[in-house]
Amino acid sequence: MDTRRGALAVPKVRRVGFFTSAIEPTQDSSQRPNRSQSGPVEATTSSSPLSDSPSGNLISPVLIPPSRHHSDNLTSRAVAAAAAPVPVPGPAAFRRYLAHDRGLNVGSYNPPDSLLGTSPPSSNGEFSEDSVSLFGFQRSDSAKLSASFPNGGFDLTLAVRAPQEPEPKIATVSASEVTKKIAEVSGKSESVTTKPQKEKEPKSLKDKTTKAERRAIQEAQRAAKAAAKGEGNRRADESGKANPGKAAKKPQPKKERLPATSSVSVKTAVAVEKEKRMDVPQTQMQYDDKSRVEKAKKRAVVEQTESKNKVELFLHLPQYERGNQLPDLSSNIFILDTIHHAVYKVGLQHLAGDISGDNARCIAMLQAFQEAIKDYTTPPMKDLTMDLTTKINGYVSFLIECRPLSMSMGNAIRFLKNQIRKLPVNLSEPEAKASLCSDIGRFIDEKIILADKVIVQHAVTKIRDGEVLLTYGFSCVVEMILLYAHEIGKKFRVVIVDSRPNLEGQKLLRRLVTRGLDCTYTHINAISYIMREATRVFLGASSIFSNGTLYSKVGTACVAMVANAFSVPVIVCCEAYKFHERVLLDSICTNELGDPDAVASIPSFSTKAKHLKTMDNNKNLQFLNLMYDSTPSEYISMIVSDYGMIPPTSIPVIVREYRREHLLL
C-alpha cells in the first residue's frame, strides 16, 4: 500500500512529460525510433521486482518528451526522422513545422503521423503511474493502438486524408510484430512467472478489434486523470471513508498481485484479467462496458433509457434518450432529497440546456456548491472534510448524470476538493464553510471573470483597424473582446459563422448588432467562401490539452483548418483554468453526444416531422450529434490566456508551472 502511494505521488511532478535534458539522450537514442516498443522492454524489467522501487525504474519512459512540444528540440526531430520501423513520423513532423511556420497548405496535415509520433510516450507515461504489473500488456496495448490508428476508423474526424496511406499500414505490421516478439523474448528471459502473462496479453488483445484499441487510449487518458486526482484519492484512501468505492478498489489488486507472481498457472492470467478491470481508476465511464454500465445504472439518480440506435464508433460515450430525462428528473425533485436544491437546479438547467457555454456552466455549478456548502451542517460523529467531500462527490455524480461535465468544470471541482482537503483541522465549522465559500468566490472572480478581462486586454491589441474578424459559434470571451474593441473605437467587421442545431451564433449576433457592430452572419457550410474575407479568426475554447489540442464546440476544427489553408491566423481565447494536463489525440475518445433528434428535426420542415418519426426505429439510420471536436495544435497560431499570449506548445509549461499556484490559489 505504501509503495503504491509512493508510486502514485511521483506522477504529480512529472505529469507533463516535459523534462527533456538529462535522461532523454541516453534513453532516447536507442529506443526512440520505435517508441511503442520501448514500453514493453522497460515494463518487463520493472514488473518482476514488483513495486519495490517503482519510481526509479519507471521514470525513464515517462521522461521522454512528446516530440511535438519541442519544435526546437533537434535531437528528437532527428531521431524521429531516422525512425526505421515507423517511417512516417519523421517527414511528417518536418512538414508539420513547415506548415506551421509558413502557414502552408492543408494537404500536409497527416494526423496519423502525428499520432504515431506522440501517442505512445504519453500513454506510457501515464500508465507508469498506475500500477507496475500492468505494464506488460498495457504497453503492448498502446503499441497496438498507435500502430493501428491509420487504418482504424480514424478518417471520420479528419478533413484531410493522409496521402501516404499504405505506409503507415506497413508500419503497423512491423511495429506490432516486433512488439510481440520483444514481449515474448522478454517473457522467456525472465522468471517463469511472468511468461504466461506476457504471452497471453498481446494475443488476447489481438483478437479484439478496434474497440479494444479505443479502450486502450481511453484507459491511458483515464490513468492521466486519475493520476491528477491521485493525491485526492490517496487521502481518501487513508481514511477509507470518504470514497468507499475507490478505497475498496485499491487494496484488492494488491492482494491479487502477490499470488500472481508466486503461482504459475492460469491463475495469473485470471488475476491479470481481473486487475485489468479493477486497477483502472474510474474517472471516465466506458459505456460499452456492459457490467459497469449496469452497476452505474443502479446508482443512477436520473432514470436513463439507452437510445436504441447507437452509433458504433461512439459506443463508449453515454447515449441516452433525451425525451424522458427532463420530465423524469423534474417529477422526482422531492424524492431525491440528498441533492441540495441549488445543485438540483443547476442540474435541471444543464439537462434542459438552459445554461450552455463552459464558463456559464462552471459558474452556475460553483455557485450551487457555494450555496450547498452554506447550508451544510456536519452530521454528528463525522468529519467535515470527509463528509463534505462525499457530499460534493454525490453532487458531482448527479451533475454528470444530467450532462457530462466539461473539462473546465472538472478542474473547478478538483480545485474545490483540494480546498476542502486543505482545510486546517482546528477550524470551526462556520469558519471552514466561510473559507470554502470565499475560496469558490475567489475562483470565480480570479480564474474566470478577471481572466476574461485580462484576455480581452491582450486580445484587443491584435485587432487592427479595417480588419475582418471571423468567429465561430458563441464564446463569451470572444464576445467581450469584440465589444471592447468596438468600445475603444477600433473599426472592424465581424463575420459570425454558425452551425445547426444549436445556432448559438445567433445570440452573439443579436447582441453585437444591438451594440452597433458591423456583422455578417453565415453558416459553416459557407466557410470556405467567407474565409477569403477574414483577416483573423477568434475562437473560444472548451478546453486546451497539454499537447496543444483545442477541444471546443464541434465545427471549430473545420474553421481552424480552413483558416490555416487560407493563411489566416487563428487566435484561441481560453482562460487558463480550462487547460488540462491530459493529452488529447482525437475527438472520439473524449466527446459528448447531444440529442440526436436535434440533428434530425428541422423546425421549418414541420411536415417532414412525421416522416422522421417513422424513421425513428429504422435500423439503418443513426443520428449522431457530436458536441465537441479537437483541433490539432498546428492550426492554432496563438492562444490568448490570462497568462498572456502563448503558442500552443507552451500549454504544458503553464499547466506544470502554474499548477501548484493554481491549486493553492
Binding site: 420530465p327 422526482n332 422531492f334 424524492i335 436544491h341 435541471l348 464558463n359 450555496e371 471573470i449 445570440k507
Partner: protein
C-alpha cells in the same frame, strides 16, 4: 390572526412542526388549501362533511392529495381549512388516518377569506424559499414535483400547472337531463403562452370574458408571439416564490383569490414588477455575488422570451442592474395521459367517482376484482343481484334481491332493498334505499333515506333527507330548507 391550532394536533407542539417544515425538501413548503363548506357543492357538503372530506370512492378527497404528495416524498404539509368546525373535522380525520406517516399541520382560517386570505393568515409560517400550493380538492396523478422543478429551473416568481381540460359530463350511458344544470362553461380558462410554452403571458377565466379582453402590449411585444389556448385548465397547483407571494398579499389587501386576483396580477405585471424587484434582488445578491441575477434584467428576459436560450451572465454582470425589473411567470403543462380532475362541482364529483373506480383506477388504491369492481367481503348481496364492472360496494352494505348496480359507488353500511336499480350514482354511507327504487345519475348522501318505489334521475339528496314513497323526480335537489 385567525390562526388556530387544531386541538387534536396539540400533542406535538406547533413550533416543532414548523421547524420540521423549515428544512423543507428542496426548500419547498407545501400548503394544501382544503377549503371549507363549499357552496357550489351545496347538497353534498354539510356541517358534518366539509369539502375536503367528501368521499370519492369511499375515501375523503383530501386523501388523494395527501397520497399524491406522499408518493412524492413530501411529508411536511400545512393544510389550511376554512372555518373552525371544518378544521376540527379535517384535523380529526388526518390524525386518525395518517398521523404516523405525515407531519401535517392543520390551520384554521376564518370562513370566506378566499385562498389569498387564507395564505395571508398563515403567511408568518412560511419560511422556505418557494411555496408549493396545492388545492385540496384535486384527484390527480400528476407529480407535483414537476411544477416545482420547472419553477426552480426558471427561477420564476410563480409557476402554474396547466393540464388538458378533463373530459366531463355524464358517461355515455348516463342520462343527460341534468347537464344544463351542472354544465361547465365551454372553456374554463383562457391562457396565453409564449411560443415555447414555457411562460404564462395571459390568463383569464373564460366566464369573465364577455366580448373582448385586454392583453398587455408590452408583454406581447417582448414575447413576439402569443398563443391563446382554451383547451387547458389551471390545475390550482402553483409554485410561488415566497417573497413575491408575501409581498403581493401585503400590498394588495383586496386580493381574495389566488387564481382570480394574485395570479393574473403577477402575469400582468411581469415586465414591470417594481413591486418585487428589490426583495428578489436582495435575495439574489445574498446567495451569491450578484453575478447571476440575470433573471431580473429586462433585457435578458426579452432575450429569453424571444430566444429561449441561456442568457449571458457576463453581459448582465457588466451591464449591472437594470432600472426595469421583471419576474417570470412560468407554466408546466402536464402530460395529456395524466389524470386530473378538480372536485369543484357536482358534475365533477360524479365524474371523479366514476373515473376513480373506472378509467383512473390506479388512483383509488384498491385492488379490483376480476369483474373490475370492488365488493367488500362483508357486503351482503341478495339473490339474482348483479354488480357490474366499475362498481364499488362498501363494507357492511346489504343489497336485496334482484338488484342491479352499474357504474356506481355505494358506501359503507347502506341498506338497499330488493328490485333496486342504481346506475351512475353515488350512494354514501349509511343510506337506506327502499324496494323498487330506481336511481340514475344521482348522489345520495349519507344517512339519507329513500322510501319504496322512488325514481330519481340526476338528483342530489342531502344527508339525512327522507324522500317519500313513490316519488318520481328529475334533476332536483333535496335539501331541508
Amino acid at each position: 390572526q385567525n390562526q388556530n391550532q387544531n386541538p387534536r394536533k396539540l400533542e406535538t407542539s406547533p413550533c416543532f412542526l414548523f421547524t420540521v417544515n423549515s428544512v423543507a425538501k428542496m426548500d419547498f413548503q407545501v400548503v394544501i388549501l382544503a377549503g371549507g363548506f363549499s357552496s357550489t357543492l351545496f347538497p353534498l357538503v354539510s356541517k358534518e362533511v366539509p369539502k375536503a372530506l367528501l368521499p370519492v370512492a369511499n375515501r375523503p378527497v383530501l386523501s388523494y392529495v395527501l397520497d399524491l404528495l406522499e408518493s412524492n416524498n413530501l411529508k411536511d404539509l400545512i393544510v389550511v381549512v376554512e372555518g373552525e368546525d371544518a378544521a376540527l373535522k379535517v384535523g380529526g380525520w388526518i390524525s386518525s388516518a395518517c398521523v404516523d406517516r405525515l407531519h401535517v399541520e392543520v390551520a384554521a382560517v376564518a370562513e370566506n377569506v378566499g385562498t389569498a386570505g387564507a395564505l395571508r393568515a398563515i403567511a408568518h409560517h412560511l419560511t422556505a424559499k418557494d411555496i408549493l400550493i396545492v388545492s385540496g380538492d384535486i384527484v390527480s396523478d400528476i407529480p407535483p414535483g414537476a411544477v416545482a422543478a420547472t419553477h426552480r429551473r426558471h427561477d420564476a416568481a410563480v409557476t402554474a400547472m396547466l393540464c388538458a381540460q378533463p373530459v366531463s359530463g355524464p358517461s355515455e350511458s348516463g342520462g343527460s337531463g341534468g347537464k344544463d344544470k351542472t354544465k361547465k362553461p365551454a372553456c374554463e380558462d383562457i391562457i396565453g403562452l409564449d411560443s415555447w410554452k414555457q411562460f404564462l403571458l395571459y390568463i383569464a377565466k373564460g366566464t369573465e370574458i364577455k366580448k373582448d379582453t385586454r392583453v398587455k402590449k408590452s408583454i406581447l411585444c417582448a414575447a413576439g408571439k402569443m398563443e391563446l389556448r382554451s383547451d387547458l385548465v389551471d390545475s390550482h397547483i402553483y409554485a410561488f416564490k415566497r417573497s413575491v407571494l408575501q409581498k403581493v398579499l401585503d400590498q394588495k389587501p383586496a386580493f381574495r383569490s389566488l387564481k382570480q386576483d394574485v395570479l393574473p396580477y403577477l402575469v400582468r405585471t411581469q415586465l414591470r414588477s417594481d413591486v418585487f424587484s428589490d426583495q428578489s434582488n436582495v435575495e439574489e445578491n445574498g446567495n451569491g455575488n450578484g453575478k447571476n441575477n440575470m433573471q431580473n434584467n429586462e433585457v435578458v428576459l426579452s432575450q429569453i422570451l424571444s430566444n429561449a436560450s441561456s442568457p449571458s451572465f457576463h453581459q448582465v454582470y457588466e451591464s449591472g442592474l437594470d432600472s426595469r425589473k421583471t419576474h417570470k411567470c412560468c407554466v408546466y403543462i402536464a402530460d395529456e395521459s395524466k389524470y386530473f380532475v378538480r372536485l369543484n362541482s357536482i358534475q365533477a364529483f360524479m365524474d371523479v367517482n366514476r373515473d376513480v373506480i373506472g378509467d383512473a383506477n390506479h388512483l383509488s388504491g384498491y385492488s379490483f376484482s376480476a369483474h373490475h369492481n370492488i365488493v367488500h367481503p362483508s357486503a351482503e348481496l341478495g339473490s339474482k343481484t348483479t354488480v357490474g364492472p366499475h362498481c364499488m360496494l362498501g363494507e357492511g352494505s346489504q343489497v336485496g334481491d334482484k338488484c342491479s348496480v352499474k357504474r356506481s359507488v355505494i358506501g359503507r353500511h347502506c341498506r338497499i332493498g330488493s328490485n333496486v336499480k342504481i346506475v351512475n350514482s353515488v350512494v354514501m354511507d349509511h343510506a337506506t334505499i327502499g324496494d323498487g327504487c330506481s336511481i340514475q345519475g344521482s348522489v345520495i348522501c349519507s344517512n339519507a333515506q329513500l322510501q319504496e318505489r322512488v325514481t330519481l334521475r340526476d338528483c342530489q339528496v342531502e344527508a339525512g333527507y327522507i324522500v317519500c314513497v313513490g316519488g318520481e323526480h328529475k334533476g332536483e335537489t333535496f335539501a331541508r330548507k
